[in-house]
Structures are given as structure tokens and as C-alpha cells.
């Protein structure tokens, strides 16, 4: 049986739900298809200690604002799942769970969405399946000796899961630094391979860095305002952890705990891992970038008369880098390699000619080349905060407007064709 509907939303995470709410406001009939349960990725693909990097107050969604008693706290995974479940209830999202989409393909009057539980015909499709479906493990993983266990943040759960012995964590963004810290504290000696990374303090002048980034407008910067959107979309995640003590999680914290810092993993030759000699520059760039952000914050604070209200400006100790960081390690002392080298989306089910040569969907701020198809919940889709739960609302509002106009035009299309 083929079911007909105006819009099919793929994915019941924060982005799909935000779009559902926006479409409901516009009385556009739709269904949200979800392969598992609401917030599936948060349930099944995250490690135990992970908390959101954004404070509770910041996870605003259309029709929802935090009203609890801990606005500055960071949600645990169970809390995040509960929050999204409650949101789905609150907005009465028409979610159909346990529904795996196997194909989205063109149909003569729009699109056909094939699932394990029937086929939908629709005029518009919203892809909200997330940015983090497949771990990006580099090809050199193929050269790793077979006695070494390999994990990614997607199947890592906690330190006890790892065999005794040294760990090489590859990648020093949010996932890599958080897991490196946890493993080192647990007693597993960690070597951390550091490429390009973004250092920020958790708290600056007494306030959460996310509060500053929100207020100063950094997070609202639009995709048409930045120099190179391609580069902006590839910026790694901030070195942050959500914790009760609101501690910083930068390379100085990690080296203070005994983590060995090395350059970007450059190759594996036999039993030896080789690292790039670029660590000093990677750290210098990151410190400079952080200080530019802090300069911008200080300027904004002065302009807005906050200088007497918050702590005075200060700068953080530059990243400490050894004079000659090791350019290689003997893999005989490494028992596990954890690839914290990012993720990519999975579009294996997408049977539309919209992918570029790198397998990314071609789109203009979420408006996909194929008319009536929209994309949501990817880094810097329309604005810097697009990757955050807090960014889904503004993006969904913009794109639901475009989608509604598209449906209106489609409805009047045949009439125009007759008069032509």
C-alpha cells in the first residue's frame, strides 16, 4: 500500500522534531520516520559519560524553552533522551518509530520514500538524519597491526571496555579530548595525536563560553557571511566537556594529567606510528584563534557596558608543547587505537542525483538541488549554530518557509500551465 502525504521528515532527532513543529504550525501534513526510537543516536551511539557541550538553557527548540532549576548544567545522555522524548510529546510530533528508510527516489509527482514498513509518496522530503552516522576512520587504519584493538567514539562506552595497555587517541576535538582524559584518569596511558583543533575555555570572565558565543552573535553568523563556507563547515568541534566543575579541557589539562601529546598521525610503517612535525604550529594557531574570540568577547562586553558586572578580562596560558615532541611511537606499547577523527553522514539510501564528488549533498543553506528536498542538522548548514540543538529551530523556521512556498507553487502549478 502506498501512503500519500505532503512531507516526509527523515529522522526524529532534535532537527527532525523542530521541523515537525514548524510544519504543524503551518498545517502541513507530514510524518517523521525514525529507524529506532526518538533520539536514537543519543541512545545507541554515545559513550556513557558524555554530556551535552551546551548548557541546559541553550537547547531551545520551537515551542520549547528550559524551565528547570539548573539552567547552567549540561544534560547527561539519559537526560538528553528524556528531553527530546518530552519535546516530541509536547509538539505531538507524528513520529513513526522502528521505520528504516531503504530508498528515497524521484516519483512523477514528487518523491517515493520506501521503508521496511511501507512506501510513502510525498511532494517534499526533509533529510534530518544527522551528520554523525559513520565514523571517519582514515585509510591508514588498514596498516594497523591486528593485535591492536580499534574503537571509535561510536562504539566506545567506558574505559573498562579497553584491554590493559597504552592507548593512542587520534584526534583532539571534543570526542578525542574527552575520551583521552577519561582513559588517562582511569590509568590507561594515553598518547594523543593532535591535528587542527579549536581550543576554548569552558568559562570566561565567570560565564559559560557558550553564553558569550550566543550573546555576541558568533553563533548566529550566516552561511553567506563567512569567507569560505566549505572551510567553516569543516571546522572541528570545540575542545569542551560538559561537567559539574565546569573545567577546561584543553591540551594543557591533558598534558598535566600525563597524556603524551604528539602531532597529527601521518603514517604507520610496520610497528611504528609516525606523527607530523606540525604540532607547535597547530597549537599556536589554536591559541591565536582562541584569543581572537576572547578579544571579540571583551570588545562586546565593553560596548554593552558589562565590564563592571563580570570578571575582568584575562588570557590563558599558551599551550605547552615540548621542544621536540615525539615524531613516532613504537606500536608495541599501544594496545588500543581510538579513532576520534570525526564522522560523516550516511546517504546510502538516497537515490537522488544530489551528491558531490566527496559524497556530500549539494545544497544552498539546506535547500537541496532537487526541488522539494531539504536538509537539516548539519554543521553550518545556515548559521554557525546549525550543528547545535539550539540552531535547529532557526534553520527549521527558514526552511519550512521555503518548503511551504514550494508546496503553494506546486499547488498552483497546473493552473499556470493551463493558462500558458
Amino acid at each position: 500500500m502506498v501512503m500519500r502525504i505532503s512531507t516526509v521528515i527523515l529522522g526524529a532527532g532534535h532537527a527532525g522534531l523542530a521541523m515537525s513543529r514548524c510544519l504543524t504550525e503551518r498545517s502541513i501534513d507530514h510524518v517523521v520516520l525514525e529507524r529506532g526510537e526518538v533520539a536514537n543516536t543519543w541512545r545507541t551511539e554515545r559513550w556513557d559519560s558524555l554530556r551535552l557541550l551546551t548548557p541546559n538553557w541553550q537547547s531551545r527548540l520551537p515551542g520549547y524553552r528550559y524551565q528547570g532549576d539548573d539552567p547552567d548544567g549540561y544534560r547527561t545522555m539519559p537526560e538528553t533522551i528524556e528531553f527530546l522524548e518530552r519535546y516530541a510529546d509536547l509538539i505531538s510530533a507524528p513520529v513513526q518509530t522502528r521505520t528504516t528508510v531503504t530508498s528515497v527516489r524521484p516519483a512523477h509527482d514528487g518523491y517515493e520514500v520506501v521503508t521496511n514498513r511501507g512506501t510513502w509518496r510525498c511532494q517534499t522530503v526533509v533529510i534530518a538524519t544527522g551528520a554523525c552516522n559513520i565514523p571517519n576512520v582514515p585509510a591508514i587504519a588498514g596498516a594497523v597491526p591486528s593485535r591492536i584493538d580499534m574503537l571509535t567514539p561510536m562504539n566506545y562506552r567506558n574505559p573498562a571496555q579497553l584491554a590493559d595497555g597504552g592507548v593512542l587517541v587520534v584526534g583532539a576535538s571534543a570526542s578525542g579530548t574527552q575520551i583521552a582524559e577519561e582513559l588517562q584518569r582511569f590509568g590507561r596511558p594515553v598518547t594523543l595525536a593532535v591535528g587542527e583543533h579549536i581550543r576554548v575555555p569552558r568559562v570566561y570572565r565567570g560565564l559559560d563560553i557558550k553564553w558569550w558565543m550566543d550573546k555576541t552573535g558568533v553563533l548566529d553568523e550566516g552561511y553567506e557571511e563567512v569567507d569560505s563556507i566549505l572551510r567553516a563547515r569543516n571546522v572541528p568541534s570545540l575542545q569542551l566537556v560538559g561537567s559539574d566543575d565546569r573545567r577546561n579541557l584543553d591540551l594543557n589539562t591533558l598534558s598535566g594529567l600525563g597524556v603524551e601529546l604528539v602531532g597529527r598521525l601521518a603514517g604507520i610503517q610496520g610497528d611504528r606510528a609516525q606523527f607530523s612535525g606540525s604540532l607547535p604550529n597547530q597549537c599556536a594557531m589554536s591559541d591565536l584563534k582562541m584569543n581572537r574570540l576572547l578579544d571579540r568577547i571583551d570588545e562586546w562586553a565593553t560596548d554593552n557596558g558589562l565590564d563592571g558586572e563580570v570578571d575582568p578580562p584575562h588570557r590563558f596560558e599558551p599551550t605547552r608543547v615540548e621542544t621536540s615532541p615525539p615524531l613516532g611511537v613504537d606500536l608495541s606499547r599501544i594496545r588500543t587505537i581510538l579513532w576520534a577523527t570525526g564522522y560523516r553522514p550516511d546517504y546510502s539510501w538516497l537515490d537522488l542525483d544530489v551528491l558531490d564528488r566527496k559524497g556530500r549533498i549539494r545544497h544552498d543553506g539546506g535547500v537541496v538541488e532537487s526541488p522539494g528536498v531539504y536538509l537539516l542538522g548539519l554543521p553550518f548548514l545556515r548559521r554557525r549554530k546549525s550543528s547545535l540543538i539550539d540552531g535547529a529551530g532557526a534553520d527549521a523556521r527558514d526552511l519550512s518557509g521555503h518548503l511551504a512556498a514550494y508546496l503553494d507553487r506546486a499547488a498552483s502549478g497546473p493552473l499556470l500551465a493551463r493558462t500558458a
Binding site: Q269, G277, N281, A284, M285, L288, S324
Partner: protein, 186 residues
């Protein structure tokens, strides 16, 4: 009264570079370049390398003229010192690459450079190349580059230009990362 600001000019045609970047994004096959050098042994440790032709933008290209570089070893190695040691040419290549990058990045950021001076030092324990100690590598144990830059910018802006130049430098990458080298004999 109005003040006139001279346009920033570091002698880099950033517009052309940005256009090239856009064109090559659409046509990645044209971005495949091949750099070449030939070398002929002269005598003793003295050789002469020549660069002229290269491949890029889908076709054969050539320099405006032929360039030659003599390499030799200094007299303390019982050589005639007819040119730079090859490792000094590596330092010259790194400096040339980073400085070109500094000029381009500064131009793109609209920062006028007045002078850019680099001093490079490559430390080497020659017990490696002499085969005295197998634990000592042949190459540099480390390279130090010191820049002195006079420009219309704050110290942090200048540091950011130098950092960005390293991030985009080919020679910096060649030196800091492993590269497969295949040497054949015909």
C-alpha cells in the same frame, strides 16, 4: 578633510589566486601538478640541478627561463664548495615557501608588509650520515625558523599570518610529514 589610504600591495595577485581556487574546485583534475628537476653530476660532491618544465592545469608548462642550482659540500668536508649543500637548499626551499605564503595571506587579509626576514637553522648530528652511530638519523634533528616582520598589523595578527602560511605550505608539509620516495635506476 579626507585621508587617503594607499591600497595594500604586497605584490601578490590574490584575486587571480582566489579565481584559480574557484576554477580548480570545479575542475579538480586540472589541479594535478607534477614538479620536476634534472640533475647532473659535475665532479666530486659537486652537482648541478636544473628546473625548467613542469606539468599543471592539464598541460605542459615551463618557467620563464631555465634555473640552475649548484650543490656541493664545504671545504671542511674536503670538497671544493661550488655551491650550497643540499640541506641548505632544503632550508632555502622552506623559507621561500613560507615567505611566499606570508605575502599571500597578508595580501588576502589586507595587511601591508614592509619587510619580512627569516633566519633558518637546521640542527644535524652528522654521526648519522657518516655512519658512526646507527641510532642517529641522517636528516635534521630539528629546524628552527625565526621571522622578523615589519607590517601594519598587531603582533598577534602577524603571528596568525605566519601560522596560516605554515598550514598551507607545501615544503613545510614535505618536511613535517613522511613522503614515499621511489628511486629507480635505468
Amino acid at each position: 578633510m579626507s585621508t587617503m589610504t594607499a591600497p595594500v600591495d604586497n605584490g601578490v595577485n590574490v584575486g587571480a589566486l582566489l579565481e584559480a581556487r574557484e576554477a580548480l574546485t570545479a575542475m579538480p583534475e586540472a589541479a594535478q601538478f607534477s614538479w620536476r628537476a634534472t640533475c647532473e653530476w659535475v665532479k666530486g660532491t659537486h652537482s648541478r640541478s636544473t628546473v625548467e618544465r613542469f606539468f599543471g592545469l592539464g598541460q605542459e608548462q615551463s618557467h620563464r627561463t631555465t634555473y640552475q642550482y649548484d650543490t656541493d659540500h664545504p671545504e671542511i668536508f674536503a670538497s671544493e664548495d661550488n655551491g650550497a649543500t643540499p640541506v641548505e637548499l632544503v632550508l632555502a626551499g622552506l623559507a621561500g615557501c613560507l615567505s611566499a605564503g606570508i605575502a599571500a595571506v597578508a595580501q588576502n587579509r589586507e595587511i601591508q608588509l614592509r619587510s619580512v626576514k627569516a633566519t633558518l637553522e637546521g640542527a644535524m648530528d652528522i654521526q648519522g650520515i657518516l655512519g658512526i652511530d646507527p641510532d642517529v638519523r641522517n636528516g635534521f634533528s630539528g629546524i628552527k625558523v625565526k621571522y622578523e616582520i615589519d607590517a601594519d598589523a598587531t603582533p598577534d595578527e602577524i603571528r596568525a599570518i605566519v601560522a596560516q602560511s605554515q598550514k598551507r605550505s607545501a615544503v613545510y608539509d614535505v618536511i613535517t610529514n613522511p613522503t614515499n620516495v621511489t628511486v629507480e635506476v635505468n
